[in-house]
Symmetry: C2
Subunit: 678 residues, 2 copies
């Protein structure tokens, strides 16, 4: 029987004549022989987005006739839509043309996932107004923390030559509801605002527009002085204010639906208002004032920390921004990373959420796997995104989840938004790892509707990307749904954070010491291992970061017996022999987590090999190979972390567990050339 | 409890103030406060060996008084001994002085292993007359296939400076009954026979003599022409014959008890009688004639194969030597490797054993782990040695084991002998791996008495080398006793052979192809993998090597249904789906063996970590580190072999087995610098 299956496997492989490079993403819509019957009834039936919607359905829809209808009375749907239909006819209604497009992709998704389409009554209103990707693409086409090749944007060719991938990119975003993009890195090159580059940006915006994807830009706060020739970039300098107004006006002449600016200021060496003795509100408001006449917005990042080392880094964003609460314009949104440090494998939520009561806030997720194995590890992030969205801040009593704070439910916001740092590059499969596509997909789907379950998102994505064969679907879905926890297990369980290597965030280097480096850039700052135990004391006896959380979380997090064990070492310095809920010591539990993570990856390998024959050979082999890398890396992590901390704990790894395969001294010699993993 | 044990562990570590480098081997005799009462009664009570025996006992014996007695009537014991004693007195008797020394070490071994010494009646007669180490040491102090540092012999310092290690070496050999050594490589540098070097050799022989270790030399057959200035080295040339006689006379003037020559001739580029149209008997006899007046012997190696590729390499030694049977002098012994190819992880026995009816033969084992993981892998070789010694050739009916053929039981031999290629070098611990010492020990013990069980040898060695703590002894003994089969499992199970890498014999390279290389130096020659199956057809439909075995072995080996499965692919080209005795296919069984080997090494790691606290920290850590290497290598082997043969078998590795951790293409890129593993 096994043999039969394997023979089939080979047979199927040989049938697959076209190399499957993954470039089609989840957009593998059926081709219809006869074109579908699609009609449009709206005042302007030649709107570009309507055209796309009609064309997609005409080409791929295999069911009953469809009417697309613009109805301005449906304004409460925002850019959402209604779908009503029976066996004979379906009507998609929306207040905005792009809503029809989203409705069209909804129908195609139903078709491709094998859903019942004989009786439809759907109303979809997006969770957030602005569902935006943040590209960390540099103008030289490298991508910071990008692991799928160089940037999609071919600046040298723009604006005159337009790669077909620009449109494919916009289409993929539209298909999952993403309606905005910041195409350049937050460490922004001021040249993006020169006339030369704005012409190129306009060309891209024109390609994106039919798909409802609005253009935003990261701007360098020092642009007025660097490219404007001004003496400084002080937000109180009228020349500077004028320079920005003029620049914004120029942009809107080229791109009338331009969305606004994303700003990283006074963080990690970037210029900002502090350079002139001004605060973040001064800086953000100046830009907001320039954008306001055009309905543009400023997304101002809360990821800031002092250039000189001082207080607990986890506390700094809160301390910086809470005092400014109420001082920001209403077209400024503070963009806050999900956790208080920096996209670690798992963090508790940032205490800024809920604490800003008179200032709009938004979540920033990292879709690119900077701290989760780059594009080498299979890690499905929907559960991570959900954990953040569902985190209860207690800011307005129980149920004050981050989702409800940032979507406008609990607090009025002029604009609501959610951002994800993109994992997209020039690789044929867009994201490096075929399964990394699912994180782009998951971000889009949750930005549209954060109530979707991870399970549903995985289910949809697998059916559309691979197959709906249950023998494939179920085990692969299990693999995806457990994969984040697995990665946390073999990298940083129990609240451990930032024990990555100095020159890359791929592998472990808990021992890392660089003479002269600021302490909070070194792992020791975070793990604090000694012969007593390990962990970061953020209770009242330590940095008192717990005080930034609303009651009762300050108490829960601050008590070693009530803190969720997944955050134990985030908030506490805990003795090696501390008894955990399962009755075993902290040290033994640490060993179990790393062992478990390693064994789980081995299970994924078994799953993938077993179901491989349901998919094309190319993607099978590619994923198989990456799982092998992940399996080796899980061993690397387990060995490095356990052997290093063992020098402090002086306890054996429980003897029934598989033993380390590497010597600590050998592991310390590993120095990855980061470029190899880019 | 676990914690308690680990604390004890650390406590004990801190007590071990003297770094334990393993240099004391198994010779960790107790020190007595009061000297033991040892008397000697012999005509020459000042014989050097008697002195050593008396001194060893005086220093280390803690029991009743001992009398050492030479009794020439005990000649039937050869260099063996009798021990008789009660609680009050022990008498050690021997016909030769060295017999007293062996008896002394016997007593100390009893004492150190905790045996009952209150009532002794022991008679020991060695299994073989000559129990000899073959060093493959070059005069430049590199060692061919040596993995424990450079050669012990400091040629530049000799003869005037004598390293203390020469005596320690001789003592270690004497303690296990080894009575002879060839100190230079079989790929012999002719300079060893120059006066300059013979003076150095004499100095070593003088150190070895009190310990009963006789000196032998490897000689280069072309010595007469290379260093003697003769026109050629033709054995029929009277000048050549005279040169050898004179050279031998010179040697005996320096070393009166010189043992004889070891010769590798017409093999792998070495000169030999074939260079002059003479045969091996012509060559060996010429040297034998020169040595005969001094009672010296020639050990002539059967490891020969044609410089041009032709017949099955496994058949060549037989075809070369059997026609010469009866033509050799009685002081010539043909030295035959245990298997017909070359010290592979497991081989069937060489068919030359038993086939030479009128010529003396001897076994050559390889103690150094050329094909068994160098000094990086823990592999206890007693079971391998035993499997060869116990192999039944059926040459004289059932029970015609190689042991009984080569020890003179079944055939008269003037001299009986057994050789082992040494694993000894300059490393502090002598053998690279602490456990590799056990192979030196096992060779000596089996050369003395091949009826000893592997279990008994391991038991003695562990007690003397580490501890007799049962919680250590039993699991470590289990580990040792299974370790050879384990290595065979992860390297070359089921009769696979010689799929090693081209430039080293450490790792796998079954795909190795070197343009222009002779086929029988390439793995493909041996594995013959294709889409049907794999293995070497040595049956009548193939090379018919099976015909070299005596009935019924030719039938048993020649039939795919009766051949022992451990030799299946040695003798047969077997389809991937061939059903084996467990009902599963050949391919699946191959996968099971590799998986089993890998898992067994992981078990050894668990064992070692668990019992580590019973031994000193230095040896614990050293062995722990090597086991980690072995564990990684087992994965390397499994992945390389299974992924490579899978390209032929086109079958899945059974899905419940752990999946490969490496990609075949990556493994193919591994090119070890052999020197790193020397």
């Amino acid at each position: 029987m096994k043999q039969l299956i394997f023979s089939t496997f080979l047979f199927l492989f040989s049938l697959s004549l076209i190399a499957e490079d993954g470039s089609r993403l989840w957009l593998r819509f059926s081709e219809t022989n006869a074109q579908a019957n699609v009609t449009v009834s709206s005042r302007n039936n030649r709107h570009a987005s309507t055209d796309v919607a009609r064309q997609e359905l005409t080409d791929h829809w295999q069911g009953q006739p469809i009417e697309l209808r613009i109805d301005r009375r449906l304004n409460h749907l925002k850019d959402g839509y209604q779908i009503k239909g029976n066996r004979d006819r379906i009507t998609v209604s929306a207040a905005q043309e792009v809503g029809l497009l989203y409705g069209a992709y909804h129908l195609l998704r139903l078709q491709e996932t094998g859903a019942d389409i004989s009786n439809l009554d759907v109303t979809e209103i997006p969770s957030f107004d602005v569902r935006i990707l943040n590209h960390w693409d540099n103008l030289n086409r490298t991508i910071e923390r990008g692991y799928a090749g160089h940037s999609l944007w071919l600046w040298n060719e723009l604006p005159h030559t337009l790669s077909p991938r620009y449109q494919e990119y916009a289409r993929a975003n539209a298909s999952i509801g993403i309606n905005a993009t910041v195409i350049n890195s937050v460490n922004a090159n001021p040249r993006i605002l020169t006339d030369e580059y704005l012409e190129k940006v306009k060309a891209l915006a024109d390609v994106f527009r039919p798909y409802g994807v609005r253009m935003y830009l990261s701007v360098n706060f020092a642009s007025p002085s660097v490219i404007g020739g001004l003496e400084n970039s002080d937000p109180h300098n009228p020349d500077v204010q004028r320079w920005w107004k003029n620049k914004v006006n120029d942009i809107y002449k080229l791109i009338p639906d331009f969305g606004g600016f994303l700003v990283k200021a006074n963080s990690e060496g970037q210029p900002g208002p502090h350079d002139y003795g001004r605060n973040h509100a001064d800086g953000a408001n100046m830009l907001a004032d320039a954008l306001q006449p055009h309905n543009g917005i400023v997304m101002w990042r809360a990821f800031v920390y002092e250039p000189e080392w001082g207080e607990d880094r986890a506390s700094q964003a809160y301390n910086e921004f809470v005092p400014l609460d109420g001082e920001f314009r209403d077209n400024v949104i503070i963009q806050i990373k999900n956790g208080p440090i920096d996209f670690q494998p798992r963090e508790p939520f940032s205490p800024l959420f809920g604490a800003l009561r008179k200032t709009a806030g938004m979540l920033e997720f990292q879709i690119t796997q900077e701290y989760l194995g780059f594009s080498y590890h299979l890690v499905f992030l929907a559960p991570q995104f959900k954990e953040a969205l569902d985190s209860d801040t207690f800011s307005d009593g129980e149920g004050s989840t981050i989702a409800k704070i940032t979507d406008g439910t609990l607090r009025e916001q002029k604009v609501t938004a959610i951002a994800g740092v993109a994992n997209i590059g020039e690789d044929a499969n867009w994201c490096g790892h075929h399964f990394a596509q699912s994180n782009w997909y998951a971000f889009g789907r949750l930005a549209w509707n954060y109530n979707l379950s991870s399970e549903q998102i995985a289910d949809e994505w697998i059916r559309m990307t691979f197959t709906d064969e249950p023998n494939f679907l179920e085990p692969v879905k299990d693999m995806m749904l457990t994969s984040w926890e697995t990665a946390v297990n073999y990298m940083m369980p129990m609240g451990i954070h930032h024990i990555f290597a100095w020159n890359h965030h791929y592998g472990p280097e808990p021992w890392c010491y660089i003479p002269g480096a600021r302490p909070d850039w070194l792992p020791r700052y975070y793990h604090n291992a000694d012969t007593i135990g390990m962990g970061f004391d953020r209770t009242v006896t330590g940095s008192n970061n717990v005080a930034q959380y609303f009651p009762p979380l300050n108490e829960i997090f601050g008590n070693v017996n009530t803190v969720p064990e997944k955050f134990l070492l985030w908030f506490h310095h805990v003795p090696w022999d501390f008894k955990m809920k399962n009755g075993e010591t902290m040290w033994d539990n640490l060993c179990y987590h790393y062992n478990e993570g390693m064994m789980q990856v081995r299970d994924y390998q078994k799953v993938w090999d077993r179901v491989g024959h349901y998919v094309d050979y190319e993607r099978f082999r590619h994923v198989q190979s990456r799982l092998r890398t992940q399996s080796r890396d899980a061993i690397w992590w387990r060995d490095a972390v356990l052997l290093y901390f063992q020098t402090y704990s002086r306890r054996p790894i429980p003897f029934h567990l598989e033993r380390p395969m590497n010597d600590l001294e050998d592991l310390k010699k590993i120095k990855l050339d980061w470029k190899h993993h880019n």
